[in-house]
């Protein structure tokens, strides 16, 4: 920016800070490209740069009445833009930290499962345990032998199948009573 344009901008910003609304358009037209190019040099991604540019511009106009007319306006304006860039970088760093903390927790749970899946699995196990606790010891033993394919008691296969059917029916009944669904 050449000296003449810089001085014109300084004068316009001071007038706007004083309350001269006629200076608004002149300041806007001069400041917007400055803030935009400043932010784009410092912020790598275009979406983030756009957010920072616009936030910085609006902050400049919101706070222009605070400007000390004895001090140069351009460094003050770019100072606000720099602060917004800094805020964005802090947010990005915090997001990165949170993401790596979540990833660490996921690795502790199971290498191939997300935290959510692990929690759901634990809830399901607890529900099944609750339903099983309502069964008689004989039913529990029958279901255990069937699942683990353990040694059957000295009864016929048909009798064992009948016992298993009744045990599972009672388990289903208990589950329905607790959760209202099969």
């Amino acid at each position: 920016m050449d000296q003449r344009r810089r001085e014109a901008l300084e004068r316009a910003v001071v007038r706007l800070a004083d309350g001269d609304r006629d200076a608004f358009d002149e300041v806007y037209v001069a400041v917007w490209p400055l803030v935009r190019s400043f932010a784009r040099r410092l912020v790598p991604t275009s979406d983030d740069a756009e957010d920072v540019e616009q936030t910085a511009l609006l902050k400049v106009f919101e706070r222009v009445h605070e400007l000390d007319p004895r001090r140069p306006a351009l460094p003050w304006i770019l100072g606000i833009a720099a602060y917004e860039v800094k805020t964005l970088r802090k947010k990005a760093a915090r997001r990165k930290e949170d993401r790596s903390a979540t990833q660490k927790t996921e690795r502790l749970v199971a290498p191939d499962r997300s935290v959510e899946e692990a929690m759901q699995s634990r809830e399901l196990e607890d529900s099944v345990r609750d339903a099983l606790s309502t069964l008689q010891p004989g039913d529990l033993e029958t279901i255990r032998i069937a699942i683990l394919e353990d040694e059957r008691p000295a009864i016929s296969a048909a009798t064992f199948r009948k016992r298993l059917q009744r045990a599972l029916a009672r388990l289903r009944q208990a589950w329905r009573a607790m959760h209202g669904t099969d």
Binding site: L16, D18, G19
Partner: protein, 180 residues
């Protein structure tokens, strides 16, 4: 969130006005001590509260408008404070006891208003530009501030004070008109 150029311009204008408005209430706070003194010293709380509220709004408004209006706020408060002090001391000396003293009390208020008007005029002539705006803000605020003290002297006192302010600022008003 990406905005169009037009939306951004509108938003910038809005933020500018909101920023000015947000800080304009600081000017109102300058009037609070006078209002509190008036509530304590004068026996007309309703007048004090109405005049006080109007004064705070006027201070905030002129401060928000900016330019010479804003310069008029502090000058108006100081001048009005002087105008309010005069009847206050007169009251303490028993000159505003009412009855036969009413006319004397109103004359005292007129004198206080004249002092305020002279202060404002002296300040106005030193301004290179924006004299009219300065006078509008400072005389309104001086009258409202002065009325906080002149409530002691009743409506006549308030009007007398306002008359004093306006008479003494008239030359400055006429000069400002001639120049614009």
């Amino acid at each position: 969130m990406a905005r169009t150029e037009h939306d951004l311009l509108t938003a910038a204008r809005r933020q500018y006005e909101l920023g000015r408005l947000g800080s304009s209430w600081r000017a109102s706070a300058l009037a609070l001590p006078m209002i509190l003194i008036s509530l304590r010293a004068c026996n007309r709380p309703e007048v004090t509260l109405v005049a006080g509220a109007a004064l705070m709004i006027a201070c905030a408004f002129f401060s928000w408008r900016g330019l010479s209006y804003k310069k008029g706020v502090f000058s108006g408060l100081v001048a009005g404070f002087m105008a309010a002090l005069v009847p206050f001391f007169a009251f303490q000396l028993g000159l505003c006891a009412g009855g036969a003293m009413a006319a004397l009390c109103q004359a005292v208020c007129l004198f206080g208003g004249a002092v305020a008007g002279a202060m404002i005029a002296a300040r106005a002539v030193r301004l290179a530009e924006g004299r009219r705006r300065f006078l509008i803000a400072s005389t309104s605020i001086a009258c409202l501030t002065g009325s906080l003290g002149c409530a002691l002297a009743g409506l006549g006192g308030v009007l007398g004070m306002a008359l004093g302010v306006l008479v003494l600022t008239a030359p400055a008003v006429l000069t400002a008109r001639a120049e614009s």
